[in-house]
Symmetry: C2
Subunit: 205 residues, 2 copies
DNA sequence: TGTACATCAGTGAACGCGCGTTCACTGATGTAC
DNA sequence: TGTACATCAGTGAACGCGCGTTCACTGATGTAC
């Protein structure tokens, strides 16, 4: 129990929380201001004391999502006494773990259609998340001979695209629902093959 | 000009077409039955002569999308006198080309939230599209020593996920809008590295 | 400690809107004789 | 070829609904004296 403020306590965060639950339950479209307010035990009009409108609430969720995401990725990357390679693979796994554990945030970040440029803070937080991935790529790149080294930003873009694709196609009831591979295995094996292609894993190991 | 039927001619397809335009213009959420009917020059109620409701219209669009998609991929794969490797890369490029040329279909297929299992025809068409990719993977797999060959279905799932991820993140105004790599380059280089990891491209070529 | 006052989070009612869907209908088209 | 009839694609009006948003308000909380 946190310290309570005026009437509700912390309505702003309570609204974020019920919006998250709504998104998780009903998908990206299933979120409405009215319903989120109702779940927080409050009149729809009360929302406007804390947000300028529907979009700003979604932006707030995306912001919190990017913050958690960046922390999680950074922690996965730096924790443990792993080499650059193992650290990179841990980070890949952390991506999927995030998508699973924070589906509402994930939707707000990647499927809600909000333009990241719309808000400076959001932009900054998204950049930070991207930097974590890119730094991991830079670190790992040092083990590749310079002449066959791809730009680290491209490197990390590849991994991000691959991870996102796995999440979208194979962790929901989409195209891949027939395929009998757990998303985790799918992503791990793909990253393994990719890193081998970069010469970072010995062909025979 | 096709042969005209009763009053409108071919309202069913006209509705599909205006729905597609709407999705392309306003995103996945921006499509409504009422607006699609209006654009087709018809009352909203007329829609119900051809579809049981909103969802059935979206399903029809997805079906047509999967049919075009499978044709396109198949054509890309079989056309030209290319080796298995070149054919595979052409197919990857065809994926992106489809997403660009048929954005409305793409959205209906992958972002509309309709469960493929909802309609047997849809399911069948989606399977066909998937089979094209998997067959390409099977063919290419023959060049990999059996003991290090991944299951072809996994192989093709990797490529599909990668392609989808590139489309979602880097062809819209999303996270990747900052990254200065054209999606086509991103996908091509990623597939190249991946195939090298499978031992299908010589390390030094 | 007690009282008067200012603040402002949340209320409740109302709004205009566009949605998906229904229904009895009408009138153009195709068909049988 | 001409007429009578059946079909059925599209109409127009209406529905109930929930949405996002606004507004004047109220009453609990925090603050000054």
């Amino acid at each position: 129990m946190r310290k309570r403020g005026y009437h509700h306590g912390n309505l702003r965060q309570a609204l974020v929380d019920s919006a998250l639950k709504l998104i998780e339950e009903k998908g990206p479209t299933g979120f409405t201001l009215a319903e989120a307010a109702k779940r927080a035990g409050v009149t729809p009009a009360a929302v406007y004391r804390h947000f300028s409108g529907r979009e700003e609430l979604i932006i707030e969720i995306a912001k919190q999502g990017y913050a958690i995401f960046a922390d999680l990725m950074e922690y996965a990357y730096t924790s443990g006494n792993q080499g650059a390679l193992a650290a990179f693979e841990t980070t890949g796994r952390a991506y999927l773990a995030f998508a699973r554990k924070y589906p509402g945030h994930y939707v707000a970040m990647f499927e809600s259609g909000i333009p990241i440029a719309a808000d400076p803070d959001l932009n900054h937080l998204a950049s930070r998340a991207q930097d974590v991935l890119t730094n991991a790529a830079v670190e790992l790149s040092k083990h590749i001979p310079p002449e066959k080294r791809p730009p680290p930003a491209m490197f990390s873009a590849h991994i991000w695209a691959l991870s996102h694709g796995v999440v979208e196609l194979y962790t929901r009831g989409g195209v891949g629902s027939r395929a009998p591979f757990p998303p985790e295995d799918l992503l791990e094996s793909a990253i393994g093959i990719y890193l081998r292609g970069l010469g970072l894993i010995e062909p025979d190991s």
